[in-house]
Subunit: 346 residues, 2 copies
């Protein structure tokens, strides 16, 4: 299952030495699932655990790219290094163009300590989440202080990708009727910080009010309230130390509100650390990643076994002719595997 490739060691050494070229090459290897990517990610894992991961999602047109650029710039000015991963599950092969755009933007920031990279959807279900997690591993091992994962849209795939971040920022465009859509995609539940961008537009105030109402906030603006409020949406019980997701306002094109967002994200990270929630999120993230890998690998095994029985077409023929039935087919294919497992246990 683990193929070795000649340059895994070289890539790891390059990344630990801070070479951006090695980092770029490693992420390409990861994104394309090239030979050796598993060994590469395995080797890098030991050097991770220092970056704060920020997920940014929201519907197209809400201004995510602009806000992420300004956020990266603010972190750089504070002396931190930043990696940005732009994830686009909907357009599998548009990666190149998007990457080109983002690299130009990166150069506006003035130096290569902001590392932009776009990831596109390859392979099957769950593949994008796994590939993104692996890219985060590479950026973390490289030593980036902040890693921003930005999604193009806000569909289910994208929600799955960002919800494993330490802090999830949900961007909303004023008066866009986004509210209902967001509820549908289950985005309200995953947001740690909400940002109404383009706050100088008509209807911004209404959107802020609507959002706060939906989040059961009592109108306290721009900060989370560690008070008597019950955070009913929170995942982790009714503790009064629960994080109440604040609703911020920004005008990303002018940089307005970006410093407040940086402060809020710092507060959230402090909260995560002090409550043990950070470790809990890390546990959940790794458990999901492992289960995802096991499922994908088991599916490969099953496919191999199915081929040994002539493939799906042949098997369906027998079911259609009533020579056999779906359950007997499943038993015939998987019983030998189950027996292997049994035998080894004895």
């Amino acid at each position: 299952m683990s193929e070795s490739s000649a340059d895994v060691e070289g890539l790891v050494a390059g990344i630990l030495d801070g070479e951006h070229r090695a980092l770029a090459r490693a992420i390409t290897t990861i994104e394309n699932r090239e030979d050796g990517y598993r060994d590469l990610v395995s080797a890098l894992h030991a050097h991770t655990g220092n970056a704060a991961v920020i997920g940014v999602t929201g519907s197209p047109g809400a201004g995510k790219s602009t806000l992420v650029d300004k956020l990266a710039k603010a972190y750089r000015e504070a002396g931190l290094t930043v990696g940005v991963i732009a994830v686009d599950p909907s357009s599998p092969y548009s990666g190149g163009a998007v990457l080109g755009d983002r690299i130009r933007m990166a150069s506006n920031v003035g130096d290569m300590d902001v590392f932009f990279r776009s990831m596109s959807a390859r392979g099957q279900l769950g593949g994008l989440s796994t590939a993104t997690a692996d890219a985060i591993t590479a950026l973390d091992a490289f030593g980036k202080d902040r890693i921003i994962v930005e999604t193009v849209g806000a569909g289910q795939n994208e929600v799955d990708v960002v919800r494993t971040a330490d802090s999830v920022v949900v961007l909303v465009q004023p008066g866009s009727g986004d509210d209902v859509q967001m509820l549908k995609a289950g985005i309200l539940e995953i947001g740690d910080v909400f940002v109404v961008n383009k706050a100088d537009m008509d209807g911004a105030a209404t959107t802020v009010t609507d959002l706060r109402e939906m989040l059961h906030l009592d109108g306290a603006a721009g900060h989370h309230g560690h008070d008597t409020l019950e955070a009913e949406e929170s995942d982790d019980g009714a503790d009064t130390d629960d994080w109440d997701p604040p609703v911020l306002e920004t005008v990303a094109t002018e940089g307005t509100g970006v410093d407040a967002l940086v402060d809020t994200l710092d507060d959230h990270y402090t909260y995560l650390r002090s409550t043990g929630e950070l470790a809990q999120r890390e546990r959940t993230r790794y458990a999901e990643e492992i289960r995802q890998l096991l499922r994908a690998d088991a599916a490969d095994l099953v496919e191999t076994e199915l081929d040994r029985h002539g493939g799906m077409e042949a098997v369906v023929d027998d079911v259609l002719s009533r020579e056999t039935d779906p359950y007997t087919v499943a038993d015939r294919i998987l019983d030998p595997l189950a027996e292997c497992v049994e035998r080894r246990r004895e």
Copy 2:
């Protein structure tokens, strides 16, 4: 993997003898995944292949139950036997009450040749589709001429359940703004026949027009046009023999339009048979069912192996302490299985 239970033979014999009590007991065994359900479904499969399966879906309140009752009554009056499965994925344990209601309604129809049964969601992902397919197997083997699968709502789970039917009927309530919701759930793509129920309500005509527009119909009412229209939504190419989903109007409470629906469903079944689409749908249905079973069984195997390694908690601990990493964990758990497969091949 296959447990035997004492009454499997008895249940099969009873079903083939036309005993409703055996049928009811069999479906309970299937729904609850009791010991022996796999052997039961395996044994029944050989006696299937004679029923036409009709899926009925649509948002809550559209009048599905009433229409299904009237449809069942119409089939009975035409001398056909009918089985009805009501599927409710959202409320796992409300089965009893729903079943009680439906059995009362069944008695209105006047005899037990309409067999009502509600299925609720048990177990994990895909379990409901599999259980519904198994219940269809039981009703088909029993000799029912028509099997109607009715969903409570129109979410993704419910779409997955009905889309394997031979004919899919989508119910729409006039002026309910259902249009957008339906598009979201991917329901427009799976409908073979659309029914605007409560056609005496305000806005019914508009809903019919809107639906026809969305389906790229040219305004021909109440029947499918085997003409020069390109059926862009169809799954199977641009053949002029393609089925153009018609939009019918009913007032289910008064039985209005039910006969036209029966005729349209007969037409659709004839179309499915004459074009070979029926066999194709059966192939797809069995392939999906087999893949679902293989996945579920493989997941069980993986879980067993994971337990042998101390369970997920222990494994995550090692990943968190950087002693190991997700890929190494996945390899350690699945490589032995992969080696088993290899060894048997030699």
